[in-house]
């Protein structure tokens, strides 16, 4: 915020004034304030001093003129600025580089105009104007720095602080509080309110959001967020006047997968993070800009850490992926990083108990086993949280051993890695906003990728897009037509026998989203062929629009398929003698032969550890640098926020070390070297923050002779809050599953 400059200016002037009047009145005013006409007229007669150079737009705001004829010119503090029609005065000021203080206004929510903090002076308007709610008109002369505007802000601030408790020292928002900052910048140094402050009962919104409702300033951002973005109409503004409260009226928890975002949008400390309560101050924390791996969206996050501990996770702005929201799983899974961690290499002894050993011993044991087994008996499975570098190393290691049975969990037994469009979200996440009809096939984006669901909801709200769904009965937070539960419905649509066909063919930009849960089905090729038939009939794939989408489930999936982690034979796991699990916890290990040697390399003592013979501790996503490709094919990078736990090492380093002990040394020693190796396989993984679109369309898809089965689709994610080893170790996620999921 550019409030610092204004703050110093405001503070300077008020100091001069208070010395003049302080003996008599606490709140001071200049004679010019009493007659705004006089002050407005005064500069006209004076000779204009040379104006300062124009300011840059606030926060790099850009103006996009859809229609050049709609441009209009307004004057902000004397500078002309061109803006498109329909912008508000506040937005015009932002373009002109003037930051207007605000509480209730939020660019992603509807306009409420109830905090009155954004008052500015507009020439020829008798009163100060709430700039967030006033449309800018041609030739408007907006003044943001006049005595009238300053007095208005000071007055509003005094009213807001009237009933606001003076508990900043014990408030978790302290240090990052809009009210605190703006009262420093625009408020007075004292108030005139001498009565008792009101107090409000705290509400119980569940295990994630802590409420201290006395601090609430009734900006209604949370109400609008819950109604508009999260799609749970539970919060409301109850009562009237000084008794006004935010509440649910009936006792109700906030059962949204995006509820954590109300913590960010609350401008005061009324809604704060429950798990983070009283843990740290924001100025003690080190922020690391990284990527979330709990789903395939790759939300941009900032990990705030203090020393070796992750304290909290906050969203970062990325308009193309997560806008400025993140899901509750992303935000609150961090306590799982502290629990059940593997910190030493361990070997299972004859009694079946694990014994901590040195890296040298552990690697020697593993290397010896690899030399004894036949190449076709070696199997490697990468976990859903693996980064591209370590998957590259794993594949190279196993290939050097002579085996090609390496895959990533969740991609099924025979994934089709040759056709990239078959596993990517081809219209991109931001591109979904252009769609006007959605067909969800075997996917419930609300639990599989909450940010994608938020995007669909945004589209439905903005353009009344139609959504239809094929899959098990479930709840959506937008209007959704449930067409059926299984492939039968899909075939009906593909053959043009279903009533929904006309909706697709009449749509301008139809989007089909196929869930990655279908990868596990035996008839997946037939299902994809049916979806492609629908796409062909409905003209879903065109040069200007590609609405054929696959919504992946895991952070590692896209990169794994790009790198070609495809098993040679589909039932190799049944005859394996040496199984290398790189963080793979959701693989069914029942069929692994009893005499097979299982190595588990990972960061959490999760499900697969029970079967492992050797444990090699590795770093979690918060502790390493790694490349992840999200469901739309955009590769992004994590950065280490905290040091690794105990004796753990990065995944690729462990594999590199093992290769040397086993006598098949991999030719890379640095992250740079392994990335140049990746460049030869999948160069798109190195183009950071860029979407690499699929090169070919369904015209190349092979003919399918498979028969579609009639088994209905299954839900891919049973429990939104616990999907991987980190979230399963998290206490907060366990609380959420217990309290928020309907049994």
């Amino acid at each position: 915020m550019g409030l610092g400059l204004l703050a110093s200016r405001t503070l300077k002037t008020s100091r001069v004034l208070s010395s003049q009047y302080s003996r008599f009145r606490p709140i001071v005013t200049k004679p010019g304030l009493q007659s705004p006409d006089a002050s407005a007229a005064a500069p006209a007669t004076q000779p204009e001093p040379t104006p300062p150079p124009p300011k840059k737009p606030v926060g790099g705001a850009r103006v996009h003129f859809t229609n050049p004829d709609d441009a209009l010119e307004v004057f902000v503090d004397g500078f002309p600025v061109k803006i498109p029609k329909g912008m508000t005065v506040l937005q015009a000021c932002e373009i002109a580089g003037v930051d207007i203080p605000r509480f209730c206004y939020h660019s992603r929510l509807s306009i409420a105009g109830n905090c009155r903090m954004c008052l500015v002076e507009v020439e020829k308007s008798p009163k100060p104007v709430a700039s967030c709610a006033m449309p800018a008109l041609p030739g408007m002369k907006i003044k943001t720095d006049t005595p009238l505007a300053k007095k208005a802000r000071e007055g509003v601030m005094e009213f807001l602080l009237m009933n606001h408790p003076l508990d900043c020292p014990i408030c978790d928002q302290g240090g990052e509080c809009d009210l605190q900052d703006q009262s420093m910048a625009f408020g007075s140094d004292r108030g005139r309110f001498t009565e008792m402050k009101r107090s409000v009962v705290d509400k119980n919104l569940g295990p994630l959001v802590k409420t201290v409702m006395t601090r609430c300033i009734q900006c209604t951002r949370c109400v609008r967020f819950a109604t508009e973005v999260a799609g749970v109409q539970d919060l409301g503004m109850l009562g009237r006047g000084s008794g006004e409260e935010i509440g649910t009226y009936v006792e109700k928890l906030m059962t949204s997968e995006l509820s954590g975002n109300v913590i960010d949008i609350c401008p005061v400390g009324a809604l704060t993070s429950k798990p983070f309560a009283f843990k740290a101050r924001n100025w003690e924390l080190k922020g690391t800009e990284t990527i979330d791996v709990t789903d395939a969206v790759g939300s941009n996050i900032r990990i705030d850490s203090r020393g070796p501990e992750v304290m909290r996770i906050l969203p970062r702005l990325n308009e193309d992926i997560n806008e400025e929201w993140i899901s509750d799983k992303t935000r609150f899974c961090y306590d799982g990083l502290k629990r059940q961690r593997l910190n030493d290499p361990m070997i299972r002894d004859a009694n079946g108990r694990f014994k901590a050993v040195s890296w040298r011993d552990a690697l020697a044991v593993v290397a010896e086993v690899t030399l004894q087994v036949k190449p076709e008996e070696i199997v490697g499975i990468a976990g859903k949280l693996s980064d591209a570098e370590s998957m590259m190393a794993l594949k190279d290691l196993l290939n050097n051993m002579g085996s090609n049975n390496v895959w990533c969990e969740g991609t099924g037994t025979s994934p089709n890695a040759d056709l990239r469009y078959r596993y990517l979200m081809n219209s991109s996440i931001a591109g979904l906003e252009k769609a006007d009809v959605f067909l969800l096939v075997g996917t419930q984006p609300r639990v599989e990728a909450a940010m994608v669901n938020a995007r669909i909801r945004k589209t439905v709200r903005a353009s009344n897009a139609k959504v239809a769904y094929i899959g098990p009965p479930t709840e959506f937070n937008y209007d959704c037509q449930h067409l059926g539960t299984g492939p039968q419905t899909l075939i009906e649509i593909a053959e043009g026998r279903h009533s929904f066909c006309s909706a697709i063919s009449n749509a301008k930009n139809p989007a089909i989203i196929v869930g990655a849960g279908l990868f596990e089905r035996d008839d997946k090729d037939a299902i994809f062929a049916a979806v492609e038939a629908i796409a062909k009939n409905g003209n879903v794939i065109r040069p200007d629009w590609n609405g054929f989408n696959v919504l992946l489930l895991n952070a590692a999936q896209a990169a794994a398929l790009d790198l070609g982690l495809v098993p040679e034979s589909s039932n190799s796991i049944e005859s394996t003698k040496f199984l290398y699990l790189m963080g793979a916890d959701d693989v069914n290990l029942d069929k692994v032969p009893a005499d097979a040697f299982v190595v588990y390399q990972g960061h959490h003592g999760d499900q697969s550890v029970y079967r492992a013979n050797v444990i090699l501790p590795s770093a979690a996503f918060s502790e390493k640098e790694g490349t992840y490709e999200n469901t739309e094919g955009c590769s992004q990078q994590t950065l280490p926020a905290v040091p690794t736990v105990g004796d753990a090492r990065d995944d690729w380093k462990i594999i590199r070390a093992l290769s040397e002990v086993a006598g098949i040394r991999l030719p890379y020693d640095t992250l740079g070297a392994i990335r140049s190796r990746m460049r030869t396989v999948a160069p798109n993984l190195l183009n950071r923050d860029e979407i690499e679109p699929a090169a070919f369309g369904p015209s190349l898809s092979p003919d399918c002779s498979q028969k579609i089965s009639s088994t209905p689709f299954k839900a891919a994610v049973e429990n939104f809050y616990m999907t991987d080893s980190i979230t399963r170790a998290s206490k907060i996620m366990a609380q959420c599953s217990a309290m928020l999921l309907k049994k």
Binding site: R198, V201, D234, G236, L238, E245, T248, Y249, E251
Partner: protein, 250 residues
């Protein structure tokens, strides 16, 4: 149910309701300082903005508009554009309140939400905003004494004291056991009985007990409607036209 609004100087009928009000500021500060305790001990939902489940007020109780009222609902809804059906929420809440003995259980609000097609919280917002909607059970007569500044100057505190003494109840405590009067404070909202005195308020209550209807408006027999005592002192003739306006020149 009736609500009677009694004012420092003024008391009045609305749709057979008796309101008596007074001492608002005091009650308000008391309420706000310990809302939770207040809510539980007083059981008064009018003040708190949180619904507490009770045997006669919980979302599981079935509630529906009566057949006669369903016809009225059909008459009310077309007054509003079909894409703004939620505009009908106030008349429908009023209808529901009349049907349910003068107060709105949470299931009635849910039923209204269903009719207008919005989330229940949007209806709760409206019902909590307007003090005329009672969200907890009220007596047959709902007495409200106004406590705003003009009424307080006219003696609303004394009137309230006399009323409480006569009824033998406490402020904000509805006494359903022996009689039919419930009593809560309120703001002055408009249509009141005016010129009430400490004697007159007792007379009004006694009239209600006998089943009579106390006269509407001013209780001072010397006043007619809102006019001053003893007849008009101003505006005795027709107003003069503006002197500067020459109609012929227009």
């Amino acid at each position: 149910m009736s609500v009677l609004r009694i004012n420092g100087g003024q008391v009045g009928w609305t749709r057979g309701e008796t309101w008596v009000d007074s001492g608002f500021a005091k009650a308000q500060s008391k309420t706000k300082l310990r809302p939770n305790k207040w809510a539980q001990s007083m059981g008064d939902e009018q003040i708190t903005l949180l619904h507490i489940d009770g045997p006669d007020n919980n979302p599981d109780l079935p509630w529906e508009f009566s057949e006669a009222n369903k016809a009225k609902v059909k008459g009310i809804l077309p007054h509003y554009p079909s894409n703004y059906k939620q505009s009908a929420v106030i008349p429908l809440l009023d209808l529901a309140q009349q049907q349910h003995g003068g107060w709105l259980p949470v299931s009635a609000m849910n039923a209204v939400a269903k009719v207008v097609g919005v989330a229940p919280i949007r209806v709760y917002e409206v019902a909590t905003f307007y003090s005329m909607f009672n969200r907890s059970k009220v007596g047959k007569y709902h007495l409200l004494v106004c406590g705003t500044t003009p009424c307080m100057i006219c003696g609303s505190r004394e009137i309230e004291g006399a009323l409480l003494k006569h009824l033998g109840v406490e402020r904000n405590v509805a006494d359903y056991t022996n009689g039919s009067e419930g009593y809560t404070y309120n703001y002055y909202v408009g249509f009141c009985r005016e010129d009430v005195t400490t004697q007159r308020v007792v007379e009004i209550v006694e009239m209600l007990r006998k089943g009579e209807k106390p006269p509407v408006g001013t209780q001072n027999p010397k006043r007619i409607m809102s006019g001053p005592e003893g007849g008009n002192t101003t505006l005795l003739s027709d107003p003069k036209p503006p002197p500067c306006r020459d109609l012929d020149a227009c």
